[in-house]
Symmetry: C2
Subunit: 498 residues, 2 copies
Amino acid sequence: MEPLFELALRLPGAGSRDLLRELHRQLRSAILDGRLQPGARLPATRALAQQLGVSRNTMLAAYDLLLSEGYLLARPGAGTYVADTLPIARGGHGGRGSRSGRAPKASTPARRDPRLVPLDVPGADLAPTLQPQAARDDFRVGLPDVSLFPFDIWRRLSDRALRHTARQAARFADYADPQGQAALREAIAGHVSFTRAVGCTAADVVVTAGAQQAFGLLARILVVPGRTVVAVEQLFYPSLREAMLAAGARVVTVPTDDEGMCVDRIPPEARVVCVTPSHQFPTGVAMSPPRRAALLAFARARNAVVIEDDYDSEFRFAGRPLDALQTLDRAESVFYVGTFSKSLFPALRLGFVVAPPWARAALVRARELADWHGPVLAQEALAAFIAEGHLARHIRKMRKLYGARRTALLEALARHGAGRLEAVASDAGLHLSARLLGATRADAVVERAAAAGIVLPPLSRFALDANAPGVPNGLAFGYGLIGEAQIDGAVRRLVALL
Amino acid sequence: MEPLFELALRLPGAGSRDLLRELHRQLRSAILDGRLQPGARLPATRALAQQLGVSRNTMLAAYDLLLSEGYLLARPGAGTYVADTLPIARGGHGGRGSRSGRAPKASTPARRDPRLVPLDVPGADLAPTLQPQAARDDFRVGLPDVSLFPFDIWRRLSDRALRHTARQAARFADYADPQGQAALREAIAGHVSFTRAVGCTAADVVVTAGAQQAFGLLARILVVPGRTVVAVEQLFYPSLREAMLAAGARVVTVPTDDEGMCVDRIPPEARVVCVTPSHQFPTGVAMSPPRRAALLAFARARNAVVIEDDYDSEFRFAGRPLDALQTLDRAESVFYVGTFSKSLFPALRLGFVVAPPWARAALVRARELADWHGPVLAQEALAAFIAEGHLARHIRKMRKLYGARRTALLEALARHGAGRLEAVASDAGLHLSARLLGATRADAVVERAAAAGIVLPPLSRFALDANAPGVPNGLAFGYGLIGEAQIDGAVRRLVALL
């Protein structure tokens, strides 16, 4: 009997996607932890395949992988052996599903290699994503509920997109339009015309890999490194600012009150102004009509442009939506940025810019330089998803769900937080913010909450300087991930921590 | 009878993906070309839906789209009318499948808006893709044959990835690892370890949106704008150079002969050296072992890095592959860039970098800044495609197909081109180049060929200065798109044009 026969290998069923991977992983583990000793001879692939009930080809492939990685050595005519020197010097194996391969944030390198250009972005560790997920009550912001997403429909449309494309193989072999698939641009134009009265046609839409790429491409075409002044709101979406900084912008923050950005405080030299008028991130207030008019007047007078980040206003629960800046604009100064990360799911990585005509060619060129174009099949599937009304339907369904959670949250804040935690008025979106009325500081609350299994960010996390005048002392409550029934108890326990 | 009843609408069958889109498009066309006059009253949706045999919801959605676009006007209580002023002032409608929405190249703007940063890249119009496709004999380079791609397997794996992910909805709602899905990185590491002896684990792999994004991200972390000198081969892949220029690099070209880049001619101040050692783009020569050693010695001595672009060496037809620079490297100075655009299909937009440990965190951070991460489902599908051996199988199959075409091409060149057109020795890849031996200039030949329906690029298209000493007078023949049977005739007709 060969030694390997005594190894306890637990393999998934034949035909499983994971078979080869598991076989490879478990054999490698056995080598790494010494169950298979250096120099040990392995059984012939045929014999081992038979014993394990896998195909000989799978067995051969597993041996080949281990051979190519240096875990095994083949001695011609003499069989296969565990290598004496193991190939782990290069830093360990990431492993399946393991995150050990995850690189640490570049913002805290031990020592930078002189060959690297500094990519440090001051305050870049503000980014609110990728927090630990082991929360009992998860109020993280900006993440949607995907449990009601119609995966079956999406699968059907993806299938169809693939079949369609396969039939036009010649077209498929080529690179596609960097501006985005025509069908998707048309669908997006129809969607935003309809839902947001954003006046545009397919020709005005540039498809991007989510809003993040949109910000990066806009920075690319609008920012002269070291010179261009970009104004953001006092509290802002950290990744937007990072994209601007990474392009060399001089980013300034502008005070923001309960009517949105204080337009009269924008430095006159600002050439790009970034705002979230529908649902200020993260406070949730809507920019008032006079401020909207003033901002457009500023842009016109100063030859500046506005980046309108409309990330989650599809979810509106009360009142009439205010016109988008893009809709009000008469000077072609607004770039309207939308994303499907909130209305569908972040893993899709699809967003878009509605760009004024004078900037479109440059924006398309920037996309082409960045990565040619987006994945064709996903774009076609999304085009069909929108054109057939599934997006509108999904948004309606989710609006109901989020609306119930929002109501539960408002009620819980009123019930448990009266006099201590006061909701900021807001009619739309995937999160709500609340002000702390006492002297307790929000970041202290957040720390205590985390210890109690409640995860949520302080508003100050979205400010450059948490202590600057005007930065509200408060908390943001995302309701994309938390169930309606959980909300009351979570808020009660949170208030008890104040 | 309402006027609309007389319109000839030709709609796809009920349930078709295109129903709403076609309905919308045909009604809009009727409005635009005057078959439906301004002011005309449209029938009630219910009546028209019945007559056309579509659902009322679809009919409503079509009206809603046209209303939101301004083609129709609703007068409360009085019905729906064709608008008097049509919303076409903003630049026309892209239309389904139309390319009218395609932006012109930014390199030839009539007049640049002062708000735009110059994105002009000198020589950027070199890019060889997006040429007209109406060729009878299509020798374009860099485009694979996808007619044998196992779309059914891909569909099955995509389905499975979606089902899998749907079951882990909570994970799906979040953003994913910017370095790439762990399963895909592991599969890639296994693949390149096996096929190219590139020593790496999943932890060393960074997934990118094709090679183009890889170049852009590498430029981002390696190039100090206005300062860093980047060396490329005398003939080069235009998009690589563009990515470097766009990041502010000072790009210099280095003479290249039949052993590849002349390493002793690299300017000592170069800090990044970009090469295609397996299959020089576009001449096809392989970098000789001494040159490989010299390049690595240069990098070590000068603290420079090497970008090894290994874009199509999976298709090897003769001889043993030379070791990748990454394999030979002992100083962690090589970034190995791979892509699935040639081995699978460009529309997939997936590629990768095998990065040395010191640069990995920065590269991941650069990806995160650019667009967070790649699409999760496509990554998972590709991971399974590789892990289950389909990639290796597809490459084997395509190698046979391309090999036959390559043989046909070599034979045709020998048969018809003797003394006039001489193939450049090359053992791998998706294209072959040939030198013109007479005085006829390649670009003149290419023009005449295009008129005769034969599309192929002159080698000089990949040089900065077509007349520089050392730039070969020759042609590149891609065999990704042309059938084996067509090749002999095409070459014969081409030679007749000399």
